[in-house]
Symmetry: C2
Subunit: 200 residues, 2 copies
DNA sequence: AAATATTTTAATCAAATGATTAAAATTATA
DNA sequence: TATAATTTTAATCATTTGATTAAAATATTT
């Protein structure tokens, strides 16, 4: 075989170069505004190679999106189902980890959410998220502590307080440095506030 | 003159038919995925009329977006600057009014936010929102009550708790009816919770 | 080294797309 | 009613776009 799949080529192979360029361009422009030529140029490869390696723009996008969707939930899943953590510990870790993830990938939430909005049919993974969440240790612990309120309200509040600033950043925040400092401060505040409303 | 600008034609005129179709299609698909032919078909008019009345796809979009951007903030502005309302009253009214607005226009936040993300340069209006917010009566009242915390944290939390469910709806909620009931219940909860964390 | 398989390139296609044009139809004005 | 202005239509343009093809270049196997 002539395929360059040796260890040292795994991260610089043509396929990976294309995928990395696709991540960058798809996330920056969204699916519809992205031209396969943009990706090819960004990757420094011939346009035909994109189709040679990934068949179509659509399939390349699916690979990128599937990866980004997972990235968005892989931080949550191990925490919300860790039976060894108390409810308050879960809240603290979730907030801290999620803000750190989003600070490193600020366009992630809006990229995923806006593509889902336009093409909900492509995201059957979303149904699974609902199931995993519903059956999680976190939800059970919240229900025990506050049987009077649907636990999803607390989860939505936590996620809203953490994710929304990233989604509304262009409207609400002036500079990057102000935003970043604010989000560091916010780790402590959101954890504190969620714990407070769980008691209220 | 031959223009049909009589009162009875104002809402069914060709220009308004095009604009209404543009609202529908742009919001459903986003700018990049929208074809001017989609809008023409939706409006039941000849494609050339779109350019005759609005010059270009770009200009038609600007009109629609400007309208929708305003819609998203016109509910807030009068409340946050009403000197006659106490902080707690402002919180209650903001939450109630905003949830009602978004229940009637569920795609509004994600439509506006995702277009801003992809084309931030087109939204100079966003800077004004920051100014108006910063100088609002609401911010002053929050600062008085909690001088220890940057008031923007509270505003972001309120907006996050209210807007995020609409943004994450396809992922977090199964059916429309469940969602709508949940959001009605949420009016009371978010108001209560924001008031609580203002005291914590 | 020769033969074979894989990767890369330049050229090209067909369809889609935003926009324009010139003529026809309609409406308003004189 | 005749004339002028406005609106609407069908046809067409020039680009753009995703994808393909056939040949060239490179790497692998025998």
């Amino acid at each position: 075989m002539a395929k360059a799949k040796d260890a040292k080529n795994l991260d610089t192979s043509t396929g990976e170069k294309i995928k990395e360029a696709a991540r960058k361009v798809f996330i920056k422009k969204g699916y519809a505004a992205t031209r396969t030529r943009d990706i090819a140029e960004e990757a420094g490869i011939n346009l035909a190679l994109l189709n040679y390696y990934f068949r179509s723009k659509e399939r390349l996008f699916q690979e990128v999106m599937s990866e980004k969707f997972q990235q968005l939930f892989s931080v949550i899943q191990p925490v919300i189902n860790n039976e060894d953590l108390s409810l308050e510990e879960k809240v603290e870790i979730l907030v801290e980890n999620y803000i750190d993830l989003l600070l490193e990938n600020q366009d992630l939430p809006l990229f995923v959410l806006s593509e889902i909005r336009v093409h909900p049919e492509r995201f059957k993974q979303a149904v699974q998220v609902q199931k995993i969440l519903k059956g999680s240790s976190l939800i059970r612990q919240v229900r025990e502590k506050r049987p009077d309120i649907d636990p999803i309200h607390f989860v939505v509040s936590l996620l809203g307080m953490v994710i929304f600033p990233f989604v509304a950043k262009p409207i609400l925040f002036a500079s990057d440095s102000v935003f970043n400092e604010m989000m560091q401060e916010r780790k402590r505040l959101v954890a504190q506030w969620i714990k407070a409303i769980l008691k209220s």
